[in-house]
Structure formats: C-alpha cells, structure tokens
Symmetry: D2
Subunit: 389 residues, 4 copies
C-alpha cells in the first residue's frame, strides 16, 4: 500500500466537491494508492482555515506558488476560476507534480496548447475533470458504443442548458467576464458536451455556429455571488459590460461522418443542469439527461418488430460501471459520486503507471472545437477544426 | 347554409387523411359552409374508383387537368407527390379555384415563388397544409406566446426525426429522388418544423446548416412502396443513386433575436414521428412532442421558488383550441384530427371571406429558409434569408 | 356484401361516440357486413332530429319501444343512462335483435343476471362496450399474455381515477344517484378496470374492499349538466343526497393465484381519464395509462443483465392490433377509435356467425365482482365471488 | 462544541450506509454536536476489523453486549438483522444510551411494544430509521400538506415494489425466514410505506388486506448471500420452507377519512426500489417515486383552467429541505444522503434536547397497522387498528 499527498487549490463549489471525493473514495473503493489530504490552499485566508478543518486537510495555506513547490506534495488539484488554471498547471508541471485539474482546461485554445505542451514536456500524469464521463450511464454508453451495440453512429444531439443567469439582475460574476472565464457557456457547459461528444462519437472535423448575448450589461456582483448564486445585491448597483456569450448553438460533422449538434445556453428557463445527449446508430440509439443521471434510455433495433421502444435502464445494477461500489439496484447515486469515480481512476492510474482520460490533451482538443465554433460565429463561415492551429 | 364542391387529387396516404377530414368535419363542428365531396381524382384508374366509393366521393376521375376546369368545383385539394404541386396550383388558380394544398408547397423556393405569385394574382383563397399548427397543444402554444405568457423568446429548439429509411435496403421511393421530392427531410419534415418556428417565434433572418447523405445508393422500389412503406421487394434489385439528403441540421437566428436550431433526419432509429420543439422565454418555457400530441409541457417562471417545474398540460380540456368539439377531458384525439381542424378553418374562412394560414405565402417563406440552409451547407457559409431571392 | 340496419338509442356523449364509429368503420376497415345507419332514437324530440341529421341516421324517433319492434332493424345500439339498459336489452332480445350495449351492463348484479339470461335464451349476438379492450396497446397486452410473453402472472395493479366531481358544487347528475346509475365509480369506472383485469389476467375469486363518499349532499343539476359537465347552475340551489360512493379501493385474488388491486375514484384531482394498469409476470411486466393510450410499457426479463428496463412501445406499428387500418408508425390514434374497433369486430362476428366479447356474460361477471366488493365494504369481510349468486 | 461517541452494531449493507452518514455529516452540515466514530461491532471478527478501519471507527469489537455497557459510548446505532433489534434496544435503553435503530423496529407488534416501553421508561432519545422521510421531496411533501397546500386529503396510494427474489432459485436468506425477519415485504418494505402514510396523511383506523406467498420452498443460502444478493450458490441445494409472504396488498381508511392503499411485493419484475406514493387532496395532488427521488410531481388546483397539469419539481433548489447543504440546483443527490439527513437531525435533537421522529413509538404504530393487515388476511375480515393491542 502506498500513499500520495494531495494539495488542493480553491475552496469554493469545486473545492468542496473535490475534497469530498478525496475523503470518500477510500471507503467505497479498494485502493492500491491512498490519498493523504495534505494541504488546502485558497487566496482567502479567512476562508481556507475552516475549510481545511471541515474537510480534513492537514494544513491550510494561502500562497499556491509555495504549495506547488513543496517536495512532500505529489498531486496538485486545481479548483480555481478558469483564468488561474494555466499558470498553476505550468508551475505544477515544472515541479513534476501530478495534476488533477477542474474544467474547462483554460480560457481558450491558446492557453490549452501551452498547458498541454507543459505537461507533455514534464511527463506528468494529468487529468482534466470533465466528470460527466464517469456517470455510470455515460460510462455504460461508452461501453455499448465501443462494443458495437449501437452500430455505425449517424447522429449526436447534445444540449447543455441552464437558467441561472436568465434574470437580467443576476450580477456580473467572473463567469460573465471574458478575461476571467474566457467565454460564457461555451467554456462552462459546452466544454462538457464537446468532451462527451468526442468521448462517445469521436473527433469533430468541422463546425458551424452562432453565439448570442441577450443581456449586454449587468450589475457588479455583491458579496458571496458565485456559481449559481447571485449573492447579496451590490450596494452600488453599478452596471458593467457582459463580455461573454449567453448562448451558443453549433452544428458539427464528426470525422466518422456523423452529423451532430450542440446547443448550450444559460437562458433556458426551467432547465437547471440539463446536460443531455441523444445518439442514433444503425443498431440502436440512446439518450441521457444529467437531471436523471441514474437512467439511460436505450433502443435496440434487434428487438422484434412490434416490441421495440426506448427502454429506461436504471444504471444501478452491479453490472454497470462503478456501481458495485455503492448500493443495491434501484438505490441511486448523485452528482458528487462522479468526482469520487474520477479520483478513483486517477489513483489507479498512479498505481498502474498509465494515463488517465480526459487529460489536458483532451482539454486542448475540446478548446479547439469550441474555438472553431467561436470563429464560425464571428466569420459567418463553416470552420474546419484542423484549421484552428 | 351554403355548400362548396370539393375535388381531391391524389389517393394515397394524404388522400385518405384529407378525405376523412372532409367527411367528418360536419359531424363535430357547426359549419356555415358545408363541403360536398364531389370528385376524387388519381392517375391510377384502378385505385381511384374504389377509393372514391369508400370515402363517399360522388365521382371518380383520372385526369386532373379536366377536374380543375370544371365549373361545379369550388375547391381543389391537392394530395399528390410534391413534384406535381406547382402545375396543379397554377391550373387551379388560373381557374379561380380555392386551393387546399398538401405540404411541402413545392420542390424548392423557385417553384414556391411562382405558386405564390399565381394565387396572389388570381386572388383565390389558398391554404398549405402544415397541419401541425392545428394540434390543440400547438395552437395553445401560439395563444400563450401571443398573449405574452412566455415573455421574450430566447430559444427555439426544433427536431423532426424519423427512421423509416434507415435500413439501407429501403427502396428509392419518390421521397429519395430530387426531381420528385425536391429534397429529403428538409422538404418532408423540416418544412413542418420551420413552419412551426415561424408560426410560434417569428421570421428567421439567418441560417447556417450542414446536410448529410449516409446511404448513396438504394434498390429501386417494388410494388406498393410508398411513404413509410418499403412495399414488396423489387425483383431486379437494381440500384440507383439517392439524390437527396438523409439529414439536415441547422442553426438560425430569428428576427426578434432568438437563437434556434432545427435538426431533422430520417436516420434516427427509434423515432417514428418525433416532431418536437422546446421554446424558452423570459417568463416561461414550453416543450412539445408530436408522439404525445395531447400534451404540452409548460414551465411558469411566476410560480413561487421551490414549486417550479415543467407541468404536463393535457390539452384535452374544453378551454383548449378545437377540443370542445371532441370528447371530455382526458379523452385524447389523434393525428387525423389535425386535418379536420384545418378543413374546419378553411370552410370558416370561406364563410367569413378571410384568409387562412399557413398559405402559399407561408410555404414560400418556409422554402426560402430551407433554401438558405441548403446554400449554407453547399457554400459553407452563414446565409442571410433576405439574400435568398 | 350484406348490410345490417342499425338503430341507436340515446343521443348524448355515448350516442356521439357510437354514431361516429358506425359512420367511420367502413372507410378504414374492409367489411363483409356493412352497417346502415337507420334510426336514431332519443326521448328528447328536440335533440334527436338534429342529431340524426348530423350523424347521417336516416330517421329520428322518440319511442324506443317502437324502434326495437321494427322488422327492418337488425341491431339495437344502447347508449342511454344505465338504469334503462335492462328493459331495453330485454325488449331487444325478445325481438331477436343483435345487441350492442354501452357499459356498465346495468345497475347491479341482479339486473345483469336477468339481462344475460334474456340474451342467452334469445340466442342473439350481444356485445357490451368495455371499449378499452380494443385500444391497440391493450389488445397487444392480451396477445403477449396469451402467448406467454409475460409468463406466470403475479400481480395486477389497476387504477381508474378521475376528478370531474371533486368540486362539492358539482351537481347531482344521474351518475350520483343510485336509482339511476346503480353505483358511483364502481359501475362507471371500476367496471372497465375489472373487465380489463378479467380479460388480461383471468377470473377473480375473492375480494375485499372499502367504499367512501366524501361529499354527502350536492345541488340539484341545472340545464345541460351531464357526464363531465356541470351545466348551468341550478336556479334553486336545492340540495339533495348523494346515494353512491365517491371512491372504491379493492384488493382481489385471481383464480390463477395472482394478487391484485383496483383503486377507483372521482376525487383524484389532476387525473382526467387515468385508466391504468400494471401487470407483473415471471417473464416480463407491462404497464398502461389510457391518457397515453398509444404506448405500452414493457419489461422483458430475457433482456441481458444491465440492459433491462421498461421500454415504451409506441403501439402505432402495422404489426399492432387494428393499427394497419389507420396511419403510419408514430401517427397516433385517439379515444374514439376504440369504438370503431368494437363496431368492426361486431360486424365481423355477424359475418362469421361467432360470438364477440366482452358480452353480457362478461358484464354479468364484472358486476359479480363489483357486488363482492360492495358487500365486502358493507360487511367488513372478504367475500368470495362464488358466494355472490 | 460538544462531541458524542457512537458505537455501531452490524457491518453489512446498513452498517456501510450508517457509517458513511456519521463520517460525512460534519462536512456538509454545521453541527453543534459532533459525532466521534468510536466502536464498530459485528459478530464476525474477520469482517469487523477491516470494516472499522475502512470507515474510520476507532475500535473494532465483536461482543455487542459489552459495547452497550461502555461508559464512554453515548449512542448505539443498530444495523443488525431484525430479530436482534429488540434485545439490543432493551440493553441500550437499560444502559441509558441514545438509540439510532435501523428499521423495521422489530419482528412484530409485540416486540415493538416492548421496545417502546423500554425507551419510554429509560427516557432516552430514540430514532427509528425510516430514512425516506428525509428525502427532500418527501420532506417537501410533508411541508406542503402541513401548510395546507393540498387541502383536505382524499387518497393515499402507496406502492413499494421490488423484484430481487422473484427468481425461484434466489436462496432462503434471513429475509425469507419468519423467525429472523418477522415477515416478508410487510416488514421490509411496507413498514416504510406505512411510515410515510402516517407521516404525510395521518393515523390509520382500519385495514383490510391479502397476503400471498408464490414460492413455497427455496434453496438454502450459500456464502455471501444477503440483501439483494444471491451470493454463491449453495453446495447442498437443500430446500427449505419460505415462512414469510412474498406480497401484501392492503386497503385502509385513515382517521381523517382518507381512503388509501398499500401494495407491496418482491415479485414485481422490473421494479428495483419502486417506493412510490400518490396523494390526492382538495387543493392539489402530488406523486413520488424513490427511483427518481430528486423529483416531486405536483398538481395545483389553483392554476387556471387550461394551464393545469402535474409539474415535475426538481427538489434540488436551496429552498427545498436539506438541499442547501449540498449542491447547486439541478445537481442531484442519492440514496445515501437520506442517512446523512437523519444523523444530522438526530445530532440536532441531542443539542436541542428534543425528540426526533420517527422513533420507536412510530415504529410501534407502524407495526400495529401491519399486524392489522396480517390479521385481516388471516381472518378474512376488516380489522380496526385500535383492536390490535
């Protein structure tokens, strides 16, 4: 049995989700390499001490530059806003650390290329947390496609819709500022969808897209505003310019010939975490909705005429990926479990000295597709992904 | 009480659906103008006599050119394959007949323009049967949007998916030949979706699209092959080239600023008549699926926090459009009823001397949008609808 | 080709549904015996003439006793309120007429026995219109069970829930008067469920039940009050006693050992025509909801582990019962089509000189089960159906 | 900040679920009283040491009788098979321990009475883990009913269906032995449903029921057989008699006049953890399915005519019970979270010196209702709950 020392950077929404995973993985999975929760780091000194205590991190720190240099740290887990990812990854790679990084990889394709080059050069294990790959239903979909159960794939229809900023008074949090987030739902939501599309169907060869911003100006954020949360209202009520898109719809062609679509928006009222896809193949079709993440809809063309129909597989069977570790059939798991699965596979990769995916290469490829979409919208042309270099 | 004499041309799938409507409308609706089922016409003499007898048409005929010239005919109902629409509409208009025409309007935008010009010049009442506007749930959606219940519209997400030709051995019926059908699912299915998008959200200003053909060659059709039906297999097994697309995915911008998508395919295994849309607005959202045509999903943003959710309105209440004519709440209607509603409104328009929509103008506008999509796919550019002239 | 002359009695909700079926069956099905719509009869002279005209009945009449004696009438179709069924059936049988009778058979088991004895003695073809047997999904369920697809049946869970009288101000229509209706939802709704339970699972051997009346007094009905309709408010606002149950919940054992339940109520707010059942067998399970009557949920235990789940069969395939007569796959039918199917099978039975089911025997057996339930509620004991004689 | 020392007894399915809750509660909720995971006890010495280590219990033990006597233990958490509950509760109470006990309370009403008397006499805090009360959707349902949102309740329709023993070769685990389990799904599943019925609607006054056993004999269990798991096959293949029911269907009257039903079975193929209920009230209705535990269906009669329908509330909003502690809207939780909620409320009750429900009194009342059902089935009579003493 070996141990690895983990340092986490960032103590907000993702810091909680990652901390929970590092703490919990050891109870549900049989690990060969066990994580030690060594340091939690956040620029906010008032926040990090209670955070570290609550989640069982041995130490609290405020300077991430010091943390990544520590000899006793094996893994750097990056949970900060997007604009900080690049320098952290570069520093971690330079120090030979294994990297567990929250998505999106960076603000744009340029950053992503630099990040990927750094980890490649350093030769360090790296993982990018497009966690939805590790929903059992999604892992099952991958298995079904890989084993030919769906045959040749004709279509991907992805949609990732939310509504948390549809109120014009929702403040201008960092997610709405291009210098911080790189983009709007393209980076936040569509990066997940494109990752799933690449994972399940294959590489994308060309893109055409339209992006839209519905609300041009918003109030500056008050205290505690953050992801999904408007916080208390700003006293000033000062307005500032929204610099990212509110929605992006893309049509794509995959290298294998499949025709696909990706619709993403933060203005789809009533949709909370509506991360969905439909895949149509010559032998069968599937559909998935993250809001019902313990289910996979499956149509088998081999069923006899008159008995065909989309069936709801409850992916809570011990035969389903990751599920045997949890509860009996019919006893569902939740959002946070995907992080535990990710940590589990990351630790296994350390033990087995293998790669783990998605990693920074995948993140870079996702960014390339999104950049193709952004250029398509700007130039009003179809864009070949290969032309985005 | 006045009467109008109807002549129908075409005795296949649509001929049946229209005949049923003309026969049935008088029992369920209180009409001021009643239809007389005068002549049924089809080029196939063996087919038309029993057809006329079965559906109660007074006469059977085989030469449509003669029928449209008859003085005693008021209404020409066109149910033939697409490539015949134009000359029939032109002849009917020239003879001053009222026109009830099955969709799509014609093979392409060029034909549609000519057809619209003809009816405009003749000043005849004309209706194009995009029948899905008259599903009670869709009419309700229109009413809700018109009365502001959904507020400003941000998104339209339309999909019309079928699977009846996904088998590579499905024969090359007229639907797969460009000279007969004009196009593939763009004309057959997406024309419906675009009609609904225009009806519910408004005019479309620009389009980007990709079209795909998955199966390049198919066997020539045997006897009785037709819409949804492979018929008996061809003896020759001779192959011929598919000249239309199998699928088309489009992203559009509406004139009011909404961002939308239209995905259509005949290769979506498991989808039979999956004509669906989602509309997201500032005050509420709706979604619809023709396979569950007696339901409308509705999210009301005015519901209190913690009590919001998409509700399933069963559109079987006497307060819903057209429904009072049928059965009590919870007793659903079917596909064919939309045709009865269309006939009812057409007869009312005669009585009231008003127009009825959608008409050939709408058909032309739909074709303009589809043509923009076709050009976008061919030129790999975004296309302004206004540039399609 | 032969013809039969039909007389219908009753021109309300059911009179419309039956008339539509008699008119329409000939267009969609290939009949050997064709119906002639000869006479429509209703006690209300002002109503019957326009009714006959609208639906194409050759004559209108007001005295049913005369109609059943006419030599030229072959079929008596009874669509009157329940309390009139018995004397009409007896008269029709005495005159050797074929009988097509709306459900429930009569007010109670006593009447049903008398009615069955009369038709048996007369040897006339008789049909009782538990129309839901002829929903394609239900016919498919029957076929699947008969052919062993579900294996041994363990459970039936039936529910028939509506809400049209849940408002305490809904008036005391005939449905709420024991001398007119015989009972409340036991006769109106549960008779359908018990018919389906017998049809699909088999005979019921014992029953235990509780009946409840929530609202003891209601206003007398005003003009136009009827099934599902409160009509205009009564001027008097005089109150009268409700003499039937508002709800009845039963547990039963079937002769084959299956354990079942039947829950019925007119106080289930939000349920309009929620006629549902679940059947669990050793090889598979199904469930059905009349509000989505074009679907059957099916679980096949032979599907491999990890791929099992309830699938939604859209029963719109030509392979499904009755469906080939209508529209292509995915194009749904409605409530009224079940009546067309019933008329079609009735006419076929005439041609083939066979029986048709359900008939008055089945109606009597249903009433026996309901009577067992009523007695169980009254005596607070389990009741063997065989003891109800 | 104070601490309490916990000892857990039982290291199987429930031991895991409880351990996870004790470990995790402190990260997600702000506790005034924190749990210390002191001792884990199981009769199986080989199992308990790794179990304790994995879950972070400070010590492992094999003799529960010693554990309950330890002065340093504040809370006894009982996770053993049912037949051991009584003696453990009695011993814990005699030693003045606070009790956190897995359901069902005991094997039967007799045991439950004795247990309740013991804790009452001892005056110790006691909780019975009908954990489904603490699903956010169920807690929300309770809140809605308590605040009058559903008005007067007319109906409860509960069903708890599983299929894990429907294979006749599933072995005779303790769940199928009356001396171990007390009963079949009545104790295992229906105890949950009856608890929810009492919680949401109120006390039950009378019951009528039928119980069935479909498979009379089963093979003796091999190694590792347990809840939901057949384990490896027994070598002997020796058969033994099933001494509990396989299914139980009950109809009940509530003290407030509502009419209800409870259907439970382990032979409902395709249902994994189908713990469902529908509640119909004068102002609204709700329905719930544990397999989609993050949703509550809600019909509001105050919605305007034509806009009514069951809406799917995603109970993932910070306004919903317990949810603010977890993730943003749309990010669902799983089965195990209900245990965390229970532990949280138990610890709060210690801090606030209040009771917590459900407790052993509630367990006793549930057993009284189930016993009424059992007697009804045996005597074939309706049974007043008050007569079960």
């Amino acid at each position: 049995m070996s141990h690895v020392n983990v340092a986490i950077i960032g103590a907000s929404f993702m810091g909680r989700a990652h901390s929970n995973a590092w703490r919990k993985v050891d109870q549900f999975f049989d690990l060969k390499v066990k994580p030690v929760l060594k340091v939690a780091c956040d620029v906010d000194a008032e926040r990090i001490t209670p955070f570290a205590q609550r989640w069982g991190w041995e130490e609290a720190a405020t300077e991430w530059e010091r943390v990544v240099e520590r000899k006793d740290i094996d893994i750097i887990d990056i949970c900060t806003p997007t604009f900080l990812h690049k320098e952290m990854v570069l520093a971690a790679a330079a120090n030979g650390k294994k990297i567990f990084c929250e998505k999106p990889v960076g603000r744009n394709f340029e950053e992503a290329k630099e990040m990927y080059a750094a980890v490649k050069k350093a030769g360090v294990l790296n993982y990018l947390n497009h966690n939805y790959r590790r929903v059992p239903a999604v892992s099952l979909a991958k298995k079904m496609i890989a084993e030919g159960e769906l045959g040749e794939i004709y279509h991907w229809r992805g949609a990732y819709l939310q509504d948390w900023i549809s109120d014009p008074n929702f403040p201008l949090t960092w997610h709405l500022q291009k210098d911080k987030a790189g983009a709007g739902p393209q980076n936040d939501l569509n990066s997940h969808s494109v990752d799933l599309g690449r994972y399940l169907v294959g590489e994308i060869s060309s893109v055409t897209a339209m992006l839209k911003t519905f609300i041009e100006e918003r109030p500056l954020p008050g205290k505690n505003a953050g992801t999904f949360s408007a916080g208390s209202s700003s006293e000033s009520a000062e307005m500032a310019k929204v610099t990212v898109e509110d929605a992006a719809f893309m049509v794509v062609e995959f290298e294998n010939g499949a025709l696909g679509s990706f619709d993403t928006s933060r203005f789809a009222n009533g949709r909370k975490n509506y991360n969905t896809f439909e895949i149509y193949g010559s032998k069968g079709s599937i559909s998935f909705n993250m809001e019902r993440m313990n289910e996979l809809e499956y149509l088998n063309m081999a069923d006899p005429m008159g008995r065909q129909g989309f069936r709801t597989i409850q992916t809570t069977d011990p035969s389903h990926p990751y599920v045997a570790a949890w509860w009996p059939p019919g006893h569902i798991i939740g959002y946070e479990h995907t992080f535990v699965h990710a940590v589990k596979d990351f630790l296994d990769a350390i033990h087995n000295d293998t790669e783990v995916t998605p990693n920074l290469y995948d993140g870079m490829k996702v960014m390339q597709v999104l950049e193709a979409g952004n250029r398509s919208s700007a130039t009003r042309q179809h864009v070949d992904v290969a032309d985005v270099v």
